[in-house]
Amino acid sequence: MTTEELEQLLAQQPIALLHRLARGRVQRHFRAGKRRLIEVLLRHSAENRAGFESDLVTLIGERQVRPALPSPQTPAARKPKSPSPARQSMHKSAEPESHELAITLSSWLEGLGVPPPKSFVADAWQEEAIAKLKEGDVVVSVPTGSGKTYVAVEAARRAIAENRTVIYTSPLKALSNTKYTEFSKIFGADQVGILTGDRRDNGQAPLLIMTTEILRNLLYDAGGGEIDVRLDTLGLVILDESQYIADPERGVVWEETIIFCPSQARMLLLSASIGNPHDIAEWITSIRPTPCHLVRHSVRTVPLRAGYLHPNGKLAPLFRTVGIPHGHPSHLHPEAKRLFAQYEDETLPSGRRR
């Protein structure tokens, strides 16, 4: 086989076969896309061409015995595809091929729309988080978009009503600014202040917004004997986006803040879904005077569906099911699978050259 032929042969193989071929040869091969994988395999084959080719041939042989998945295309069929149809017609013909198990595009798109207006009723987990703050610290770990801000606002409202100071921190100045505007609308401009390194807007307000670094510095100053902000009246510290504790450079700031947070203040940690929120809660319980309660759930309030959009404008569901098949990454929709295989084939270097 010439290198060219080998490359072509590799290009015709499904990615699964390439992964099997790469096993033991290429490190982290499962991370590479098809194009990259072929490049690396070719480079590797230089070292032991004969062994490599015979493995490839064996694997191809094995595949042909088994019932074929979308059949590997012949080189002739892989010529640049027929001129793409006009845009308009493409959208009409977007229905996937029927498949007994897989859903259709129209059922995937079904239910799309705006819900009827509803009066606000807090979720049970929101109520739970707010209620548990009476007894101790609270860690909330729920999916993005669930409504953590509501918990922060209500908790702050209660603390302010008891004449306590509330500090709300976010990891980014931009987020702080957004919350400053948002909270000013909710509580009134005189009730909300913002602190940055060189500026203090309304620093005497009961609800103070700052980045976590600024709070950490305040706590250090308090530890060194120089009280800066009224930490003695501090009743609640809210750390938003607290999954940042795992940030390689800045994560330590969240730890310092939690370790040095005055014991009379309650802590409310708001985090996106993480794998081990109970560790965080258990840790906080172990170092703080009150037990830390964990509120978590992983069900999205607005259900999510995943789709695949081909560069030619064709849309398909990504999975066989309408919703996300949790725990089953391989339950791909046959149409999405076919389109993606086609994409990989057509964007290969050899496919382009011709």
Binding site: G113, K173, A174, Y180, R199, I258, P303, L309, P311, E346
Partner: protein, 619 residues
């Protein structure tokens, strides 16, 4: 087929299926900008009422943030209802886009994933075009948590019944990463506890040294280390159970005894020299040079703290505590005498390989030892002549050949030795897990003592008292610069310029203004100091061209924001961030008014000059 979908086609497809508004996450700022350009001549215009709605929202935002009044993207945003939102933009522009999204005015926003958490607005649909992101100069696959954070922007509560996360391929995308991300559980997160100089100074300001270890023990880092230690302890318990049958026999430590005996026997029978090229007596002795062993070096004496093999030659080496308190590294061959005395020592994973208390204790014992000590008889195998078992016996070292449990020992040795080795490894690991934070803290203490910020008893010196207020990256460089009086006579522009070159950590190339000669020589001085500190703190990039941007902004109060942007190829969002970080650094210098009034004053004048125009718009 194009390698990825054309932005215009994308918007058409999304509108057609009622999947707008959408956030389109792209790999780079450039991709976002190019996507916007793709609409320049497009005729997929919004109906006039929607265009007017956009204009109305923009007008309100502009009233608050005049800096974006002339933003070049405004016409496209208004005509087509699409916008770009990335780190190259001013914060005020990003606020405008977020505001438009909140009002439901836009069909799509092109954004980068670099700060998935920074995009705090939802949409009906999220378009994902990549499976990896750039993290500190390297492309890394998205984690499950990150995929869900990105996909999680899809589906607005109260505005959508369902949300859609749609993958559209681009070259080098790995679909597996994304499907796993959609369907998997987010990863557990791990502590990233870094011990910095300011942390050490601030902790020691508030607490005496002997209270530090309990404070470090409160960290999430230690919590997780303990979890790992507990797992190992459970394994250790299991190992203990499995070691049960291998308890004391005729001799208490039969495993070591058999090991030595067996080695000697093998060496004899094979008549091969020791694996390494060292004299047989050294090799034989090396087994006994274990921590706590009292040894003689000619007329001197010492206690072994650790044995190891040198990196290159793999020759046997020991670390020893000498009379007088010195700790030396010497080849095992320099040991002339191996006494039969082994003193207790609690070993540690890092230099000096046992705990400080232990070192003190050992030193006391060493000084009190009698003049002569019984020597350990060490059997040196001879290469040429095998030593008959009988001789081994008469030497009195090995009872094995005639021992009643000889066959049991022989049989059990391989397994018992393996288990014991594992035990030792676990014990070492557990110790390291329990003490590593404290050791890292002590390393920092050492450096701060060396530079005179801490006294020998780990109290803050006068310098330490003010240095602890500098709580930013490169704090050691900054405090050392202050001690060297490097900013004496520097004007606000120069001070701010140096601070920004310390703060800036992006090595993206570009064309920038030149620095003044005064600043150039000051930067040279800073660079020299930073290099000399590099064993203790990573030096910053110290880019002169970056310093020049700040110098111009402060040095020329008449310079407009547009003028500044025109003088460099940096994106305005980057310039803004550079100056904002410089502000942060300057405000830390400003806190030193008590000890460095001149500098604090220069810093506050620099802050006042810096905060103008765009930089005044936001807190």
């Amino acid at each position: 087929m194009p390698p990825s979908i054309h932005p215009v086609d994308l918007i058409i497809a999304l509108r057609d299926k009622h999947l707008t508004p959408a956030i389109v996450f792209l790999t780079s700022r450039r991709a976002c900008d190019e996507a916007m350009q793709a609409f320049d001549h497009s005729r997929i215009l919004l109906p006039p009422p929607r265009q007017e709605a956009i204009a109305a929202v923009l007008e309100k935002v502009i009233a608050q943030y005049p800096s974006i009044a002339e933003h070049p993207l405004i016409p496209t945003v208004q005509r087509i209802g699409v916008a770009a939102h990335h780190a190259g933009h001013l914060p005020s522009w990003k606020i405008a886009v977020e505001e438009l999204m909140r009002h439901g005015c836009l069909d799509a926003v092109f954004a980068t994933t670099t700060l998935a958490a920074g995009v705090d607005f939802p949409a009906r649909t999220v378009i994902i075009t990549q499976s990896s992101i750039r993290k500190s100069r390297d492309f890394m696959d998205l984690t499950i948590g990150e995929v869900q954070q990105i996909a999680g922007r899809a589906g607005r509560r109260g505005k959508d019944l369902v949300g859609f996360a749609i993958v559209t391929p681009s070259p080098y995308i790995d679909l597996n990463v994304l499907t796993k991300g959609f369907t998997g559980h987010p990863e557990a997160i791990n502590s990233q506890f870094l011990i910095s100089y300011p942390m050490v100074l601030n902790l020691l300001k508030a607490h005496p040294l002997d209270q530090i270890q309990p404070i470090l023990a409160k960290s999430f880092a230690q919590f997780q280390l303990n979890q790992r230690a507990e797992t190992l302890e459970r394994k250790l318990d299991e190992l203990g159970d499995r070691m049960e049958p291998f308890g004391p026999r005729v001799c208490t430590d039969w495993i070591t005894e058999w090991h030595t005996f067996d080695q000697v026997r093998r060496q004899k029978s094979h008549r091969t020299p020791v694996r390494r090229h060292e004299p047989p007596e050294v090799a034989a002795r090396f087994h006994f040079l274990t921590p706590g062993r009292v040894v003689g070096f000619g007329r001197n004496r010492g206690i072994v703290l650790r044995q190891y093999r040198s990196k290159g030659q793999k020759s046997p080496m020991i670390t020893a505590l000498r009379v007088g308190g010195g700790i030396t590294e010497s080849p095992a061959s320099t040991v002339t005498e191996v006494s039969d005395r082994v003193l207790d020592c609690v070993d540690a994973p890092v230099y000096p390989w046992c705990t400080p208390e232990s070192v003190e204790e050992l030193l006391r014992h060493l000084e009190e030892l009698p003049g002569r000590l019984p020597e350990l008889p060490i059997l040196v195998p001879k290469d040429d002549e095998p030593i008959p078992d009988a001789i081994v016996q008469t030497l009195g070292d090995f009872a094995c050949p005639t021992c009643p449990s000889r066959s049991a020992c022989q049989r059990d040795y391989p397994l018992a030795a393996k288990l014991r080795q594992e035990q030792h490894r676990h014990v070492k690991s557990i110790q390291a897990l329990r003490t590593s934070l404290w050791h890292r803290f002590q390393e920092k203490i050492d450096v701060l003592q060396q530079f005179g910020y801490l006294t020998a008893t780990a109290h803050l010196t006068d310098n330490g008292e003010w240095a602890r207020l500098i709580r930013i990256d490169h704090s050691l460089l900054i405090t050392e610069l202050l001690r060297a009086d490097a900013f004496n006579g520097a004007d606000p522009a120069m001070l701010a310029a140096v601070m920004s070159s310390i703060a800036h950590d992006d090595d993206r190339p570009g064309a920038f203004p030149r620095v003044s000669s005064g600043l150039a020589s000051l930067l040279g001085q800073v660079r020299k100091l930073a290099t000399s500190l590099s064993p203790h703190e990573d030096p910053p990039l110290l880019r002169a061209d970056i310093a020049a941007v700040t110098e111009r902004w402060i040095g020329d109060p008449g310079l407009t924001w547009i003028g500044l942007c025109k003088s460099t190829t940096m994106a305005e969002g980057d310039i803004y961030r550079l100056l904002a970080r410089t502000l942060e650094f300057l405000s830390q210098l400003h806190t030193l008014k008590a000890t460095h009034p001149g500098l604090a004053d220069t810093a506050s004048r620099a802050i006042a000059l810096l905060r103008r125009g765009v930089l005044e718009e936001l807190p």
